[in-house]
Symmetry: C2
Subunit: 346 residues, 2 copies
């Protein structure tokens, strides 16, 4: 494990993607989304993707300079062809359009197809919330890794869901979770750390219980969270993220590109209902009331988004921990691309 | 346990609510929503509410002839004052407005306050889906019965969430679940049957593990499903269902009326994206693929909404089972209201 300051990791990332032809603004934005994931404590969606995304660029699956294009539009909706840009670039375009349309028309829906992996979904919904708009995002992952409830084999993506709302206060509200028991990235992190995983996370290729993070890479699969409830939520992500936008479903059997995301965002302007001021006041009061609740011994009641906020404060001070295996992969990538790491390793 | 044909239960229900001054059309609609819940196998939301709702009418919490009124409106949104009509009447008005606006404007959001208990949420979302519109509904229950993740005490409603989409086929798609481990009604059903409940459902008033369905009526509480994930989903229902619409939050501490629902529905017209035909074709294909998957020994893969469809087919043939305690309460109610049950008990 090594600890690297966020800014050093950021500058390294920008150099890595610039070395592959990514325009500066896109590289800075892309890297920011990954660093923010690490800062939030979600290393599964962080800088280990410097390696994964670079591999996809090399294999021709990511077009580093593509611009997403709107192919169908109404005052309340847009359908975006991501043109295989970095998924983050497409997802941000989705969020911008959704917020813009919700500002004008109160309620809006925006979808995207031909979209690469978009990273941590909460990045986009919490950005919307900072603009005073409620963000609601359903994402399908076209590369399946989870089973159906009662089913055998990989047919569903980890299919994340996220909602963030404006609170007008220091306390964020951000729900952002995979509909599998855990995100695929959490298994990668466990594997990089040579750690065991809980037996409730995965099954091996015969459907057997296992605590080995490698099983899922050897024909095994993730379980949906909470049995039929997580399965239902995951299916909603397939239907809204993929079928509604024309993206690839998890069960399609198509293997390439390796990790397409179908994205669907619903944006709601509180002005159409109680009004933004009344909404943020009510949200802020509710969240304060929750935080003040009595808790089980040794625990406290947090609101969704609060652990991430605390992690960010801590990691901005202390730096971001990177497992040795991940760091070795980043070093090998820099060697391949001729990126100088001397500033980062100081 | 007695078994009653759906039609006999329906006619009895209409007589019960008519005897309390409910106009015929409203009584028939209200009773239909309850019978449909029983037919779907969700007895927790079924005809035992003949008793509960009648009690609320008697205590002045339900106005049997009120008409919900739109108090704020745009082409994509509406805010509805339910005026303490039967919650079902208000929720149906929400669904009708949302579908109408999504037909015209592609994406719409409709909220309601001053709304009584709306019953089974899937009734409204699946109605929208039958009109070719994707229905997405968040409901808060202002009468809390579940704890926060890590918290002690009742502060959250069972806060159901439902999504239904058009499939253009025999296979429905309907997600509809409480964000507590189970709906409160499932505890009532267990209590009526004098059955034990799983220890993962509730805690007693001291926060202790219990299998007694009575514990939750004696100061105990329900747990959110899947720890922080269900807690997050429940909080989304508080924020969108209650705070956004001006309804009462679970934590407010206000006890009356006894079971207000804050309702928020998002409706999406597939025509704004891949188009309705392409959507239903894709949805239908996806659902067929899921159903054809290999399953764990002795099980099969179903799609959300399928168990309810099968239950309805079976119960239309075989009748609806009513626990003895529930039946005794319905009989006592009929005696109080002077409703003749001889047709029902034939």
């Amino acid at each position: 494990m090594i600890i690297v300051p966020a800014d050093a990791l950021r500058e390294l990332g920008v150099k890595i993607f610039a070395a592959q032809g990514t325009p500066d603004e896109k590289a800075r934005f892309l890297v920011d989304t990954l660093i923010e994931a690490n800062l939030a404590g979600h290393d599964s969606h962080g800088v280990h993707y410097y390696v994964g995304y670079s591999d996809r660029v090399k294999r021709g699956f990511i077009d580093v300079d593509a611009e997403p294009a709107v192919v169908k539009e109404t005052p309340t909706s847009a359908l975006v062809d991501g043109r295989w840009a970095f998924g983050q670039v497409t997802a941000m375009r989705v969020a911008e359009l959704a917020v813009e349309k919700a500002r004008e028309s109160m309620v809006a829906g925006v979808g995207a197809f031909n979209c690469n992996h978009i990273g941590r979904v909460g990045y986009y919904t919490s950005w919307a919330a900072k603009q005073g708009i409620i963000g609601n995002m359903y994402v399908n992952v076209g590369n399946p890794s989870a089973c159906a409830y009662n089913g055998l084999g990989k047919v569903l993506g980890t299919n994340p869901y996220s909602v963030s709302v404006p609170t007008g206060s220091e306390t964020p509200f951000l729900v952002d979770w995979a509909t599998s028991v855990v995100a695929q990235g959490k298994i990668s992190v466990a594997r990089a750390k040579h750690a065991k995983i809980p037996t409730t996370w995965t099954r091996d290729k015969y459907g057997r219980v296992t605590d080995d993070p490698n099983a899922v890479y050897n024909g095994g699969w993730l379980l949906p969270f909470s049995e039929y409830k997580g399965y239902g939520m995951s299916m909603i992500c397939e239907l809204l993220g993929a079928v509604l936008t024309g993206s690839r479903t998890g069960i399609s059997g198509v293997a390439e590109p390796p990790s397409p995301n179908g994205v669907f965002m619903l944006a709601v302007n509180p002005e159409a209902f109680v009004g933004l001021d009344a909404f943020t006041e009510g949200a802020s009061r509710l969240l304060s009331q929750m935080k003040a609740l009595p808790a089980e011994a040794g625990k406290r009641v947090m609101v969704p988004g609060e652990p991430e906020k605390e992690s960010k404060e801590r990691r901005l001070r202390e730096g971001i921990p990177i497992p040795d295996d991940t760091w070795a992969q980043i070093k090998a990538l820099c060697a391949r691309l001729g990126v100088d790491m001397s500033d980062t390793e100081k």
